[in-house]
């Protein structure tokens, strides 16, 4: 009962042996691998850029890092089909990119500039972009799970075979709405995938404050749905696991709870210096860095060279810099927007 997922234990920093090799999925082509890596690097660099903006006092609102979560965010979203719908949470920049979102749109929202999809009414990843099949979250944790379930139910009513995917943390899954949403999806056998991003902490709270079970995917048994726990830093494993669950869900076999075990490598948001995380824990997870390890693996597999990857990264950084330079110069939305659209027509 007290025992947690193995990944949760603080491991000696020298213990490379505990780090398993990355999975090579038969379902992916090398072209796809290049795309996946691109998305991961984009997510990572977006994060670095936001950190910089935050330090410079040019970002405001909560700046939530997703470093450590790239494999989970990208791998899960990449497993979705091109009519499927994403309900991302606050550490899923990678998913936004996979679903075709561009950096400029993300920045406009996050920095609440004129032209933002939300007109400055809200920030971070809370926007919706129906054309890109992205519906962002609200702050209240778990609230989007019943919404993603209902979205899937509506599609099924119309005979559409789409799948919705949403996310929750090791903390957020303790909310009542999470429970009601998952149970509703299970009872209705809805094509909804819930990715549990178990990144060891909920704000400052380690897992034992949040739950007492061994694996959060153990909850699947009690809901009567498919559940599995995987290493959330192993991109192709995440992809393969989600792909299977997505196809199951699409075939009417109901929802899945997929726990991806990873680590939040920064504070809850940038204001938080995460003093409460043991240094050794971070050192251990540093070695499991999902982006760096995948880069190395891709090189090892002979798919790209270090030079290819460096060039790719430089491109991404350039793109980001240009987008930021443009967006930060834009004004905030006009004050009048505050009085508009409390209701739609």
């Amino acid at each position: 009962m007290a025992k947690k997922t193995p990944e949760k234990q603080t491991v000696s920093a020298n213990d490379e042996a505990t780090i398993p090799a990355l999975t090579r999925s038969d379902l992916l082509t090398d072209d796809q691998r290049r795309i996946i890596l691109t998305m991961m690097i984009r997510a990572r660099e977006y994060d670095y850029a936001m950190q910089r903006l935050n330090r410079q006092g040019r970002a405001f609102g909560g700046v939530y890092s997703q470093i450590g979560n790239e494999a989970t965010a990208v791998g899960s979203a990449y497993a979705m089909g091109d009519k499927d719908v994403l309900f991302p949470m606050h550490r899923n920049i990678g998913g936004h990119y996979v679903f075709g979102q561009d950096t400029r749109t993300l920045l406009l929202n996050q920095l609440a500039r004129e032209g933002s999809r939300m007109r400055g009414t809200d920030g971070t990843g809370h926007y919706a972009d129906p054309d890109k099949r992205i519906y962002g979250n609200i702050s209240h944790l778990g609230s989007m799970i019943p919404v993603a379930a209902g979205y899937a139910m509506a599609a099924r009513m119309r005979g559409e075979h789409i799948v919705t995917m949403t996310y929750i943390g090791d903390g957020g899954i303790q909310t009542g709405e999470s429970h009601e949403g998952i149970n509703f999806a299970a009872v209705q056998k809805l094509p909804m995938i819930l990715i549990i991003e178990n990144n060891q902490y909920a704000y400052s709270s380690p897992s034992h404050i949040e739950y007492a079970c061994e694996k959060l995917s153990d909850r699947a048994l009690g809901y009567g749905c498919y559940g599995i726990t995987v290493d959330g830093t192993d991109i192709e494993l995440v992809y393969e696991t989600c792909k299977k669950a997505v196809e199951q869900a699409r075939n009417g076999q109901g929802p899945a709870l997929i726990e991806c075990v990873t680590m939040r490598m920064r504070g809850h948001a940038e204001h938080d210096d995460f003093f409460y995380v043991p240094k050794e824990t971070l050192e251990y997870w540093q070695k499991k860095d999902p982006v760096i390890r995948y880069e190395n693996q891709i090189i090892e597999w002979g798919i790209m060279t270090r030079e290819d990857i460096d060039a790719l990264r430089q491109n991404i950084i350039e793109e980001l810099r240009n987008a930021i330079d443009e967006v930060v110069e834009l004004p905030f939305p006009a004050a009048e927007e505050g009085y508009r659209s409390v209701f739609v027509d």
Binding site: T121, H126, I138, A149, G150, M153, R158, F184, V342
Partner: protein
């Protein structure tokens, strides 16, 4: 026109719209074979099937949340709270998810959350609450409180067609108590229009829901016994609020009693009073009076419930006070 009870009229409104628009469906506890706790959806599952009359687990947040998700995906869900009291368990979904979506996303959430509210039937504190003021204060949520069968039908159809979240308060005490002629077929009444249900010039009573009925009773008694001409305005919807009609009545009579069954403090009556005291001040010949439930849970025993809830006698007393002023 057919004679219908308040309950039948609501059912007729939903049925009519479900026949017309395949995107309308219902979600709630025991609404299928059982036909709902008040039998409002009796027979619906036979006509519309289990895909459109969805029995849900006891999970109000999931009911409302799933309705929101379905609404975002092109449907027009009607979510039933078995008793409106249980909306406290789906509260967050309504005020935070549904209520902010138009503002944040410029997208509609065409959803109706409906169910039986109100007291006077010997239920208990958890089956009698009038909570409409909470949603009126939420921003982004429309609030409808019909008092008559025909209005209930017309407002229900308008609520279903509205592209915004609507919380639709049915008063369980009225379900089978009142009957009237109700237009058949497609019939809708725009949200945000009050109705002067009795004309008068001596004093106005502004009311909604069950209070309209005891306001009318008070007005009638005062007419019969003293010849007073008391106007009764049924605001019908709290959000949007028909300020114009209310102010016109206040300006006409100069004396205003505001009545609702919900408890007094921070109830919607305060809002009405504030608007009148701001915008019709110069026309007022007497203080503004409110008649509402005592600030307590709605008690179970008939003696207590009767004492705590407002009624015609209490409205009458307030009107008389103003007329004597």
């Amino acid at each position: 026109m057919a004679i219908m009870t308040y309950l039948e009229a609501i059912a007729d409104g939903i049925r009519t719209e479900m026949r017309r628009d395949p995107s309308v469906f219902m979600l709630g506890e025991d609404i299928g074979i059982y036909g709902g706790a008040f039998k409002l959806t009796k027979g619906f599952i036979d006509e519309f099937g289990a895909t459109r009359i969805v029995d849900s687990p006891i999970s109000e947040a999931a009911i409302v949340g799933a309705a929101i998700g379905a609404a975002l995906n092109g449907m027009r869900p009607i979510a039933e709270m078995q008793f409106m009291d249980f909306v406290t368990c789906g509260f967050n979904q309504i005020v935070n998810v549904a209520g902010t979506t138009a503002y944040r996303w410029q997208m509609g959430v065409p959803m109706v959350v409906r169910g039986p509210s109100g007291g006077g039937v010997g239920a208990n504190p958890f089956h009698s609450r009038n909570s409409e003021a909470w949603f009126a204060h939420a921003s982004g949520v429309k609030v409808v409180c019909p008092a008559f069968p025909a209005d209930a039908k017309g407002l229900m159809i308008a609520s279903i067609r509205d592209n915004n979240p609507v919380v639709f308060y049915e008063h369980k005490g009225l379900y089978r108590k009142i009957k009237e002629e109700v237009p058949e077929g497609d019939y809708s009444i725009p949200l945000g229009k009050a109705r002067v249900v009795r004309e008068g010039s001596d004093c106005s009573i502004i009311a909604y829901g069950s209070a309209v009925h005891f306001a009318l009773e008070a007005a009638e008694n005062l007419a019969v016994e003293h010849g007073y001409k008391v106007e009764v305005v049924d605001i019908r919807t709290l959000v949007p609020f028909d300020e114009e009609t209310v102010l016109a009545s206040a300006r006409k009579t100069g004396r205003v009693v505001i009545a609702h069954e919900a408890s007094l403090t921070a109830g919607f009556g305060g809002e009405i009073a504030a608007r009148i005291a701001d915008k019709a001040f110069e026309y007022l010949d007497a203080p503004l009076k409110r008649v509402a439930a005592y600030d307590a849970p709605t008690p179970f025993a008939p003696t207590l419930e009767k004492a705590v809830l407002p009624n015609a006698a209490k409205v009458r007393q307030a009107v008389e006070e103003l007329l004597r002023y």
